[in-house]
C-alpha cells in the first residue's frame, strides 16, 4: 500500500449518533419482559466487623419480595474480581500470589459497603423497602486504614493466605531481594555528589465514570446464564463467572453493553457475581441490579494510595547514578490487583531514565479502606508525582534546566523499556519536549518567573512519562479477530475488545478499511456477544489499537491475500503484483487492468454453473480471514507535559493557567480521538495532583462519596489546553501507532507539581496539593524564589 487514505483522518465516529440521540443502550437501559429487581444489602455502619446475626425473615415477608439470599443461599466459592490470574501462566500464579478471597455475600465485613445479602423483588422500590427490614448484628473489629496499622503485630488477619496482612511484595524468585532493577545502589549512592530524597504520599483517586455500574442477568430454559454488563473484559468475565458458578463456559454468555466510561473501573468484575447469583435463584426471570452512585463509589476499586519513598543520586555534572524507591500501597479489604500496581509503579520508574543502578521495592497491604484496583495509568501517576518532583529538586541544586536534563537522560530507542529485555523500538520524547517547551514559552517564562514579588506567583513546570502499549511480555496479549466478506464485497468484522468510548472501534474500522482497500463505509465492526466473538483479553493496558489494531490488520491482510489470489487466476498476474483500492483489484504496473472485488466475492458465494459453458464461474467459497493474534512486542508511548500555574500565596489556591500535553503516539489513526484522550487525561491528571482524594474517617467510613464532596476539575476550572501529537511512526505498531488511552493523565501530574515549585520554591510531598497544604508549606518555609534554591544535600 502506498499512501493511506483513511488512516490518519478524523473518520466519523461509529457510535456517536446513537449516543447523541439517546439510543445507545447502556446496561441500565436494558429492559426485559418480566424483569425483577435486585438490591444488595451492604454494611454501611462498619469498615471492619463480623456478622454476628443475620435475620432475613422480615425482609422476605416484605411486599413484592420474591427471594432473599444470604451467604448460605449462594455458592460458598470465593472469587477475585480482577483478572491478573487469567493473564499469567499457571507457573506464575504463585509469584503473583493472586488469591480468590471475595465472597458473594460476606460474614466478615472488610470495608464499608461490603455485601451482606441480596433481595430480589418485583420493583426497585419493593427491593429497597425490604432491604431496610434486614436485621444484621455486627461485632465491630479494629479498623486498619494504613499499612503500618495493618501489619502491626496482633492485627486481625484479613485472610490466612497472606500472613501479616501483606497482600503482595515483589517475589524473590523473579526479583532478587524483592526489588526490581539492578546494579549496586548503595555503592553508587556513595559516589553521588548530590542526593535528593523524600517520603511522599499519593492519594486515592476515584475513576468517577459517569455511568454507575448496572447489570441484568438471566438464566434461560436451557440453563444458560446470560449477563448484560459494561465490563471492559467480556471474555474474561465469562470465564470468571463460569468458574465461580461451576458452569461450562458455553452456559455463560456475556452481552457487552455500551460503556459509560471506565478508566479502569470496568476491568474485570464488580457486582456481576451478585447479579448472577440472584438470576440463578430465579431461573427464567431476568434480574436487574442497578448500583446507586454512592454505592458505586465504595464498591468499585479506586487508585492505590500509599507511601512512596525515593532517593536519587547524581554526579555534579548532572549524570544520574542510582535510584532507590519503595512504594507501600494500601489495598482495600480484598486482594484484587494487589500485585499489579505494586509492580508497574516501579516498571514505569525503570523505564524512564538511564539510572545505572535501580532498586524499586513494591508492597501492598490489606486495609479497611474501599477496594483498590485498576485506574487509568495503573501506578504511573503515583510514580510521576514522586520521580518528577525529585528530578526537578535535583535540577535546582545542579543548576540544570529541567527540559535539557530530561532530554539528556531519558531512555530512548534500544534501551530497555519498563520490562528488561523489551527494548524501545521508537521514541520521540525529545520532539515532545522541544515542541511543548516552545508552546508554553518555556525559556522566557522560566527566566521571568524565577524572581517575583507580590501575592500571586506564577511558575512553569515540565514532566515526562513513558507508558505501555499492551502488557506484553508481563501479561497475555491475545486477540482473535474474524473478517468475513459479504457477497457484495463489504466486510463484517468480529472483534471482542470493547470500545470504552475513546473511539477505538472507529479507529479499528479505519485500520480495516485501509488494509482491505475498501471504503470506510463498507466495513462493519462488531464486538459481539461472548458466544459469537473469539477470544480477547480485554480493553486494558492501552492495548486496543496497538494489539487489537494489529490483529484486525492481520485478519484483513489474510482477506486481502485471498482476494488477490482469486483475482490473480483471472488476471493472469501473480497475486503479489496486485493492489486493492476502493474495492478494485488491479495490476500495480498497469492499473487499468483489474477486476472488482465484488465480482470475486459474489462468485464465491453464489457459485453457479454457467449454463453456456457447463463450468462453474470463479472460485467457490465465502472469503473469511481469521487470526488468533499474540503481540510480538510492546512499543510504549512517551509524553511531555508543561504546566503554567498561578499560586495565590494568601489563599493557597493554585490556578492552572495552561497545560500543554505533547505525546509521542507513533501515529494517530484518528487524530480527533487521540486529542480527546490527551484532553480528558489532563482533567484526571489535574485532579490527582490538585484536588481529588477519597477521605475516610477514623472508623473507615468514606467521607466524600459524592460529586459535591469529591472535587473534580469542572469546565470553569480547566486551563487553556494545547495538545501536540508527535507522529514518528513506530516500526511495529499498526500503521506506526502506539498507545494513547491512559498516558494523557500521567505527566500533567508532575508538570503541575513542578510548576508550583517554580512559582513558590516549595515542593509538596502529599498529593493532592490542596490550598490547605500550600498555606501550610508557605507558613513553614516561606515563599522562596526559585532562582535562589539549591536542592539536595
Amino acid at each position: 500500500m502506498s499512501e493511506q487514505a483513511i488512516v490518519g483522518t478524523n473518520a466519523p465516529r461509529v457510535d456517536v449518533r446513537d449516543k447523541v440521540t439517546g439510543q445507545a443502550q447502556y446496561a441500565a437501559d436494558v429492559r426485559l419482559p418480566g424483569m425483577l429487581y435486585g438490591k444488595v444489602v451492604r454494611c454501611w455502619e462498619h469498615a471492619h466487623a463480623r456478622v454476628k446475626r443475620l435475620d432475613l425473615s422480615a425482609a422476605a415477608a416484605s411486599p413484592g419480595v420474591v427471594r432473599v439470599l444470604g451467604p448460605k443461599d449462594v455458592t460458598p466459592k470465593r472469587y477475585n474480581s480482577s483478572v491478573l490470574d487469567l493473564m499469567v501462566s499457571e507457573s506464575m500464579h504463585d509469584m503473583l500470589g493472586d488469591i480468590d478471597d471475595q465472597p458473594i455475600f460476606t460474614e466478615h465485613v472488610k470495608f464499608q459497603g461490603d455485601a451482606i445479602c441480596g433481595i430480589i423483588a418485583r420493583s426497585e422500590e419493593a427491593a429497597e423497602r425490604a432491604a431496610a427490614k434486614v436485621v444484621v448484628e455486627y461485632e465491630p473489629l479494629p479498623v486498619y486504614l494504613t499499612a503500618e496499622a495493618a501489619k502491626a503485630p496482633g492485627a486481625v488477619q484479613f485472610t490466612p493466605e497472606k500472613p501479616g496482612n501483606r497482600a503482595f511484595q515483589l517475589p524473590e524468585a523473579m526479583f532478587p531481594n524483592n526489588a526490581l532493577g539492578g546494579g549496586d545502589v548503595e555503592a553508587a549512592m556513595r559516589e553521588a555528589d548530590i542526593v535528593v530524597e523524600d517520603a511522599f504520599y499519593v492519594p486515592k483517586q476515584k475513576q468517577c465514570q459517569m455511568e454507575p455500574h448496572a447489570y441484568v442477568a438471566k438464566v434461560d430454559s436451557g440453563g444458560r446464564l446470560t449477563c448484560w454488563t459494561s465490563s471492559q473484559m467480556p471474555k474474561l468475565v465469562q470465564r470468571k463467572l463460569a468458574k465461580l458458578f461451576d458452569l461450562p463456559m458455553n452456559l455463560v454468555k456475556i452481552v457487552p453493553t455500551v460503556i459509560g466510561g471506565g478508566f479502569g473501573t470496568r476491568l474485570g468484575m464488580i457486582s456481576e457475581p451478585q447479579a448472577c447469583a440472584m438470576a440463578l435463584a430465579v431461573p427464567g426471570h431476568p434480574v436487574k441490579l442497578q448500583t446507586l452512585r454512592e454505592e458505586d463509589w465504595v464498591i468499585s476499586p479506586s487508585r492505590h494510595p500509599g507511601k512512596y519513598w525515593m532517593r536519587i543520586g547524581f554526579k555534579r555534572d548532572g549524570s544520574p547514578l542510582a535510584c532507590d524507591a519503595r512504594f507501600e500501597n494500601y489495598k482495600g479489604g480484598y486482594y484484587l490487583d494487589a500485585s499489579g500496581t505494586a509492580f508497574t509503579a516501579g516498571a514505569w520508574l525503570g523505564g524512564m531514565y538511564r539510572f545505572p543502578a535501580l532498586r524499586y521495592r513494591g508492597e501492598s497491604y490489606f486495609t479497611n479502606q474501599g477496594l483498590t484496583g485498576a485506574y487509568r495509568g495503573y501506578g504511573n501517576p503515583q510514580t510521576n508525582f514522586v520521580l518528577e518532583q525529585l528530578i526537578d529538586r535535583a535540577c535546582a541544586g545542579l543548576g540544570a534546566d529541567p527540559v535539557e536534563w530530561r532530554k539528556k537522560w531519558h531512555k530512548g530507542v534500544g534501551d530497555d523499556g519498563w520490562c528488561p529485555g523489551v527494548t524501545y523500538p521508537s521514541c520521540a520524547l525529545d520532539e515532545c519536549l522541544d515542541r511543548g517547551a516552545a508552546a508554553i514559552g518555556w525559556t522566557e517564562k522560566r527566566r521571568k518567573y524565577a524572581r517575583q514579588t507580590g501575592t500571586l506567583r506564577r511558575g512553569v513546570g515540565v514532566a515526562v512519562m513513558n507508558h505501555t502499549s499492551g502488557a506484553m511480555p508481563m501479561l497475555l496479549e491475545h486477540t482473535a479477530c474474524t473478517v468475513k466478506l459479504n457477497e457484495d464485497a463489504t466486510a463484517e468484522i468480529l472483534f471482542a475488545c470493547s470500545d470504552m468510548g475513546q473511539g477505538s472501534h472507529t479507529a479499528l474500522k479505519q485500520i480495516a478499511a485501509e488494509t482491505l482497500g475498501f471504503p470506510f463505509e463498507h466495513v462493519q465492526l462488531s464486538g459481539g456477544t461472548s458466544d459469537v466473538a473469539g477470544f480477547d483479553i480485554g480493553a486494558h493496558a492501552s492495548r486496543t489499537i496497538y494489539v487489537g489494531g494489529a490483529a484486525v490488520k492481520k485478519a484483513c491482510e489474510e482477506v486481502r491475500r485471498q482476494l488477490c489470489e482469486r483475482a490473480s487466476l483471472q488476471l493472469g498476474v501473480p497475486a503479489e503484483q496486485l493492489d486493492i483500492r476502493d474495492k478494485r483489484i488491479f495490476v500495480q504496473a498497469d492499473p487499468a487492468r483489474g477486476i472488482d472485488a465484488e465480482a470475486i466475492t459474489r462468485a464465491g458465494v453464489y457459485h453457479f454453473v454457467d449454463p453456456a459453458t457447463g463450468e462453474p464461474g470463479g472460485v467457490p467459497g465465502q472469503i473469511q480471514g481469521y487470526v488468533s493474534f499474540f503481540a510480538p512486542h510492546n512499543s510504549p508511548p512517551f509524553g511531555a507535559s508543561f504546566a503554567e500555574v498561578e499560586v495565590d500565596t494568601e489563599t493557597g489556591e493554585v490556578r492552572v493557567l495552561e497545560l500543554v500535553n505533547a505525546h509521542d503516539i507513533g501515529r494517530a489513526i484518528n487524530p480527533a480521538a487521540v486529542e480527546g484522550q490527551l484532553e480528558g487525561g489532563i482533567q484526571q491528571g489535574l485532579g490527582f495532583v490538585l484536588s481529588e482524594e477519597i477521605c475516610y474517617d477514623a472508623d473507615g467510613r468514606v467521607q466524600n462519596n459524592s460529586f459535591t464532596d469529591y472535587k473534580m476539575f469542572g469546565p470553569e476550572d480547566m486551563p487553556k489546553i494545547t495538545t501536540i501529537l508527535v507522529e514518528d511512526a513506530d516500526p511495529i505498531g499498526p500503521f506506526g501507532a502506539k498507545s494513547v488511552g491512559e498516558s494523557g493523565l500521567v505527566s500533567p501530574v508532575g508538570a503541575v507539581a513542578n510548576a508550583i515549585f517554580h512559582a513558590i520554591g516549595i515542593q509538596f510531598t502529599e498529593a493532592p496539593i490542596t490550598p490547605e497544604k500550600v498555606l501550610k508549606g508557605i507558613r513553614e518555609t516561606g515563599v522562596r524564589d526559585y532562582g535562589s534554591i539549591g536542592g539536595g544535600r
Binding site: G22, Q209, E211, G261, E675, G680, S706, F707, P715, M718
Partner: protein, 170 residues
C-alpha cells in the same frame, strides 16, 4: 403512597399518567415510559446526566417530582432529532468530536439547548459557566465547549448574526 393523575407533554406527545407522588421525573421517564435516553448519574443533582428541558429551561429530572410537572412541556434528547435528522446541537457535538463514552451527552446537549435559548451568542466563559452542573469525565470539556459554540453559530436562522468564536483569555 399517594398517587396523582398528571398529563405530561413529552417530545410533542401527550401522556396521561397516574404517578406516585414520590416518583421523580427521571423515574417516570425511564422506568414507566421506557425513555432511557435520559440518564441516571447520581440521583442528587450533582452531575447533570439527567438534564431535560421543562418548557425551555434545563432541570435535573432526578430532583424533580413528576407530580409537580402536570401540564408541562418536557423535552429529552430524543425529542431533538427530527426522525433521524440530528438537530444543530446534536450535529455540533458529532462534528466537534465532543462525545466519548456518551453517558453525559444527553444532559450536555439539553443544557446547551437551554443555554442557547437564553443566550444565543455565549462567550467561551459563559459556556463554561453554564456547563458547571454537568460533569464529563472523558473529554476535559475542551471539545464540548467547542461544540456548544458551534451549535450557537449554526443555530437555524441565527447563523448570520453570530460572530465566530473569539478566543477567551483564561
Amino acid at each position: 403512597m399517594k398517587n396523582r393523575d398528571i398529563t405530561l407533554h413529552i417530545n410533542g406527545e401527550e401522556y396521561r399518567l397516574n404517578v406516585a407522588v414520590n416518583r421523580t421525573l427521571l423515574d417516570v421517564l425511564r422506568d414507566e415510559l421506557g425513555m432511557t435516553e435520559t440518564k441516571y448519574g447520581c440521583g442528587t443533582g450533582e452531575c447533570g446526566a439527567c438534564t431535560v428541558l421543562v418548557e425551555d429551561k434545563a432541570v435535573n429530572s432526578c430532583l424533580t417530582l413528576a407530580a409537580t410537572m402536570d401540564g408541562k412541556r418536557i423535552t429529552t434528547v430524543a425529542g431533538l432529532a427530527d426522525f433521524g435528522r440530528l438537530d444543530h446541537i446534536q450535529q455540533a457535538f458529532v462534528d466537534e468530536a465532543a462525545i466519548q463514552c456518551g453517558y453525559c451527552t444527553p444532559g450536555m446537549v439539553m443544557k446547551t439547548a437551554s443555554l442557547l435559548a437564553q443566550n444565543p451568542d455565549p462567550s467561551e466563559a459563559e459556556i463554561r459557566h453554564a456547563l458547571e452542573g454537568n460533569i464529563c469525565r472523558c473529554t476535559g470539556y475542551e471539545k464540548i465547549v467547542k461544540a456548544v459554540r458551534k451549535a450557537a453559530e449554526t443555530m437555524p436562522g441565527r447563523a448570520a448574526a453570530v460572530e465566530p468564536c473569539k478566543e477567551v483569555v483564561q
